[in-house]
């Protein structure tokens, strides 16, 4: 295949990675932005989303589309509820102290990971995509003195991958509307800016924190449900999304939601393109290098505010 079509394929792969990464990193960013909690267990909520999606799809059976839709609704809700419970049982009790919450979420990471290993097992398990037609893409070629559309062998994508991109974009728009156009969003933004004053104006900050922790985990779970028909559910699958989410959140600016989306696009696309042309390991090395550069030259991130 020529370089042009190869590059387009790499960009498409990158867009899928970026879409899922944007959802996952957005969850991490919201939790840090509102609660000032660095959630080291975020990747495990992602993994739980994938595992629960497999479980729901298996239980529902029937047509793959039915199981997938059920998983897309149930998995984020269950993961969100588990995260909210973890907030009340653990983070609230240590008063959201920054250092202790890091240690506590490391503990939570191992509890979730090992609990999943004991119940779900060590095997990777697939979820059927609801639809997965192949789409051959056209490419212009110069033949006989004129351009004509050709369909190079292997140059195409699937309807499901396009759906992942569209669904992630729709979820992000819905999240933006939630944060900017609803009372719940206003309450979250007020709590983010000054939790003590929020309390002085009747905002139940404890409940807001539980909701935000649940929302952050739910977003990670949604990303996982979208990707699990492509990547399979496995109890160790939370590591990479956690690393990439931290990279995205640091580059975008801690707590900045627009910054998180931009950084997710940059990192996701570069990860996809470099993985296709070179290797996934090189993609991670370059992303880590990008974080180092940002920390040196713009420590507040692309759209973060200098403290």
């Amino acid at each position: 295949m020529d370089f042009g079509p190869h590059l387009i394929l790499a960009i498409l792969e990158g867009a899928v990675t970026a879409a899922v990464l944007a959802l996952t990193a957005m969850g991490l960013s919201i939790v840090f932005g509102v609660m000032r909690v660095v959630n080291v267990a975020h990747g495990e909520f992602y993994m739980l989303g994938a595992v629960i999606a497999w479980w729901v799809a298996t239980v529902v059976g029937a047509h793959p589309a039915l199981g997938f839709v059920a998983a897309l609704v149930i998995a984020p809700l269950v993961v969100g509820a588990m995260a909210a419970a973890a907030d009340r049982l653990i983070l609230h009790r240590i008063d959201y102290d920054p250092e202790r919450t890091i240690v506590a979420t490391i503990g939570l990471l191992y509890i979730i990971q090992q609990g999943t290993l004991m119940t779900f097992g060590p095997d990777a398990r697939p979820v059927q995509p609801p639809f997965n037609s192949r789409i051959a893409l056209p490419w212009p070629e110069w033949t006989d003195g004129a351009f004509a559309w050709a369909y190079p062998w292997g140059f195409g994508t699937t309807t499901y991958k396009l759906f992942i991109i569209a669904a992630a974009a729709a979820i992000l728009v819905a999240l933006w509307l939630l944060m900017t156009r609803t009372k719940a969003g206003l309450i979250m933004r007020a709590t983010q800016q000054d939790a003590e004053m929020a309390r002085a104006f009747g905002i139940p900050v404890t409940r807001v924190y539980a909701l935000v922790f649940g929302l952050g985990a739910g977003l990670a779970a949604m990303g996982a449900v979208l990707i699990v028909p492509v990547q399979q559910a496995h109890y160790l699958m939370g590591g990479d999304p956690l690393l990439l989410s931290f990279i995205v959140v640091i580059i975008g600016g801690l707590g900045s939601l627009p910054g998180t989306v931009i950084a997710a696009l940059l990192i996701g696309m570069s990860d996809g393109i470099i993985s296709v042309f070179f290797s996934p390991t090189l993609a991670k090395i370059i992303a880590t290098l990008a974080v180092a550069m940002v920390l040196v030259f713009r420590p507040q991130g692309l759209l973060g505010k200098r403290s």
Binding site: K183, L186, I187, R189, A190, Q193, D194, E196, M197, A198, R199, A200, F201, G202, I203, P204, V205
Partner: protein, 231 residues
Amino acid sequence: MLELAEVTGAYGNVKTLFGVSFSVAPGSVHCIMGRNGAGKTTTLKTIMGLLTPTGGTITLNGADLGSESAENTAKRGVGYVPQGRRLFAELSVAENIQIGLMARRSDPATRDWVLDLFPPLKTRLTQRAETLSGGEQQMLAMARALCLRPSVLLLDEPTEGLQPSMIAQIRNVVMKMRCDGVAVVLVEQRSDAVLTMADHVTFLENGRSVETLPIAGLKAAPEKLTHYLGV
């Protein structure tokens, strides 16, 4: 009637209040004065429920307020204007006001009422709070608290750093609240503002209320200002 009786309190393990007592009747302005570190802001935060008292009692119309959370204190009609305003800086003026309205599910008429009290805010509704001038920020801080339709209003140095015309506007609103039957607790360093606004004054020293007197008594004995404040 807001009543504090031998209230003690602390910031973490550091004791800061060692016995604060005073009462504020509806429709009166009660000023708390004292040197830096005397416990004025701590007293307001303790009334508001942002700090938990370690002893003594705080009651509002006979009902216990000392064991209430700040959320419930706000819902019971205690409005708080903190030192330094502490607006939700990245929210718009309208959103800051909406936060105040949500606390007691106040109706849209309340919004119109507070905007009539502070007309300059009407043209700034979509502007971020952090972009307002100091005087406008103070107006917004007061408007946000008044959205609760409070029966008790806690004001922590509301005239700090403001120009005279703005101080006069703040004073007019405080006087209007007094006429409307609100019990106003005012922490203030400026003696001229105190003498024109307050009905009673309580002096704090080292976290303890040492003397409460009517404003007429303070006017008759201005040397008390020098004694307690060193001015």
